[in-house]
């Protein structure tokens, strides 16, 4: 999952990028009377690959469709290399979009689908045929150009849709959940292929997805949207390891929430729900927002937890630990994820998810150790007005 984020912006090497820079300024979009996107600003560099990531209903598809011209701009600007496109009709924008349903035309062959944009641009038959052959080779369609659309598999249709978008040499490529209709195996390959093509052609690309792995593995920067606002912009590593708020943390897969009562200064004194106290150095934790003393939330991933079986009669309940937290609980359930076993641990009224390579028997008493560096501290949800109660998978919650 390592990214070429930094290399991608090095302008010195390789051919000049085809792509154009996009700048969104104070954009307001919506249907009827409600604003789906309110006051969004974003700068995308030429040749950059941006992923818009968010739960359904967060406005990511609306934003993409507004870029293509299908959703009217209420207020604000969409600038493409400095030119305002916010009131240009879709047919004049020149941003090629790839639709979730592919939207291929069944009454045409593969070649006719791919060549449609070129035909519109008045190219000769010979030119179109040459370009179609080129592009078909590029996306791996090779000798399928004579086929009817109905005779293609899902993956092949996806390639045709991509080829059709790329054939017109667009400065910007818009991808609307392009991989959501593919099976897992094909999806993995296509992620890689689309990314490689984008790099090779230097296209500015905007991808809409709700799949965080897809976003992280393809994009230079990930934009996480929450209720029509940008929750965080950053490289995949930043949004994954250093979430700006608890919504982002949950959306990026940190499913465990531990309500605590905060005290202390540089050394945090945490009162855990079971009454125990822990002392942790503030510098070790990820604390992106100001957290006032009082109720707060600790958020961490299930793979950060180390599980150890309690032998004999150890000390009861949770206890402090210099390197992190240790919580004592009981295994309530487990499931096999392929590489690890995910355990549901009950700690009093709380439930936590913890991954371990070894399966712990149900009913076993375990110590769950979470290193301080894997913990993110956020204000309690009641304190923060908009933190996204609709985060991807809120699993750990008080019963």
């Amino acid at each position: 999952m390592m990214q070429q984020a930094v290399q991608a912006h090095a302008p010195a090497e390789g051919p000049a990028p085809l792509g154009a820079a996009i700048s969104l300024k104070d954009l307001h979009l919506g249907y009827d009377r409600t604003d789906v996107i309110a006051g969004l600003s974003l700068d995308v560099q030429a040749g950059e690959f941006i992923a818009l990531l968010g739960a359904s209903g967060c406005g990511k598809t609306t934003l993409l469709r507004a870029l293509a011209g299908f959703v009217p701009v209420r207020q604000g600007q969409i600038l493409l290399d400095g030119t305002d496109l916010s009131h240009t009709p879709p047919e004049a924008r020149g941003m090629a979009m790839m639709f979730q349903s592919y939207a291929l035309w069944p009454h045409m062959t593969v070649a006719q689908n791919i060549g449609y944009g070129l035909k519109l641009r008045g190219q000769s038959r010979a030119q179109i045929a040459a370009r179609v052959a080129d592009i078909a080779g590029l996306v791996g369609l090779g000798d399928l150009t004579g086929r009817r659309i109905a005779a293609l598999s899902g993956g092949q249709k996806q390639r045709v849709a991509l080829a059709r978008a790329l054939a017109v040499d667009p400065p910007v490529l818009l991808l609307d959940e392009p991989l959501s209709n593919l099976d897992a195996g094909t999806r993995g390959t296509m992620r890689h292929e689309i990314r490689a093509l984008q790099q090779r052609l230097g296209l500015t690309t905007i991808l809409v997805t709700h799949d965080r792995q897809e976003a992280m593995s393809m994009a230079d920067r990930v934009v996480i949207l929450n209720r029509g606002r940008i929750a965080q912009i950053g490289t995949p590593e930043e949004v994954y390891h250093r979430p700006a708020d608890s919504y982002v943390a949950r959306f990026m897969g940190a499913t465990n929430t531990l309500p605590v009562d905060l005290g202390g200064g540089e050394e945090l004194i945490l009162s855990l729900p079971d009454g125990a106290r822990a002392r942790l150095p503030r510098a070790a934790l990820h604390v992106p927002q100001t957290v006032a003393p009082g109720p707060a939330e600790l958020i961490f991933r299930s793979d950060a937890v180390e599980l150890g079986e309690v032998n004999g009669a150890g000390q009861g309940g949770a206890g402090p630990n210099s390197a992190g937290l240790t919580l004592r609980g009981r295994v309530a359930q487990h499931s096999y994820l392929g590489s690890v076993y995910r355990h549901e641990i009950r700690i009093g009224a709380l439930r936590l998810m913890a991954d371990a390579a070894r399966k712990m028997p149900i009913g076993a008493d375990v110590d769950a150790c979470i290193p301080a560096t894997a913990l993110s501290l956020f204000p309690a949800r009641s304190q923060t007005a908009v933190t996204g109660s609709k985060a991807a998978a809120p699993v750990a919650h008080p019963l």
């Binding site: 293509a68 011209g69 299908f70 879709p90 047919e91 004049a92 924008r93 020149g94 941003m95 090629a96 979009m97 639709f99 979730q100 349903s101 939207a103 291929l104 035309w105 069944p106 009454h107 449609y116 944009g117 519109l120 641009r121 009817r148 109905a150 059709r164 017109v168």
Partner: protein, 278 residues
Amino acid sequence: MISRRTSLLLIAPALVLMAVLFLTPLGYSLIWAFREEEAGRWGIGNFTKAWAFYSADILFSLVIVTLSAALIGALSIAIAGYLTLGRSPRAVAVLRWLYRWPLFIPFVVAAQVMRTFLAKNGMMNNALVEMGLLTPFQTASYLDWRGIVITFVWKQTPFVTLLLAGAMASLDRSMIESAQNLGAKRLRILFGIVVPQVAQTLMVGLILSYVMMMSVLSVPMMINAQQPTMLTVDMAWRINAYGDYGVANALGFIAYLMTACVAWGYLRKELRDRTGEA
């Protein structure tokens, strides 16, 4: 699970009705088209007589119905196309509300309306004179072949449009958007993307209209009281004035052949498309 015999029994009443009320009279009239009553023998005498008297009317019917179908096709594509691709929500709403009205008006009423509208002193000419586009000396009656075509088009366009607009509305919207995204203007999208995908529906609508127009008696009778006229008028005339069922049956047979040609063309295309897809 219903047994084969029970299911046959269940559809039997419908089959019997169909046979008694439709197939028998049809077969009867087709067979009796070949009966020469006066000579008391079987032969094609009715057909030679029908051709001798009414060949001009046969051609007239064919031209009228074909021309009307072509105009209906063009107009319904225009209306359904605007309903699908139009950008002004208000104009689309008004058009959607307006275009269906003629559907609810019977042919005989439509013909009556057109008589007052298209006559030499009718509303259309009066309006044109009022607007100063024509002088009263230039006005002409449209109550001839043009009147029939206008009435047919006015009456049948909403029907085909209804079918066509439904088919267009059920197209995946992103098919239109993807063409727009590549730079296609609306007219180009209509003829390059939308119409080819609803061509089947358009064909069905036009064939149904064709058959309907072939069988209407009231419109040519009321609007075009001169020769040449349409086959239905001739058939009615043979029966009512002469009691000549032989020639009337022969004319019916010819009308049936004319519609059968269209239906055959449609079925052939349908079959070819099916085998092409398989």
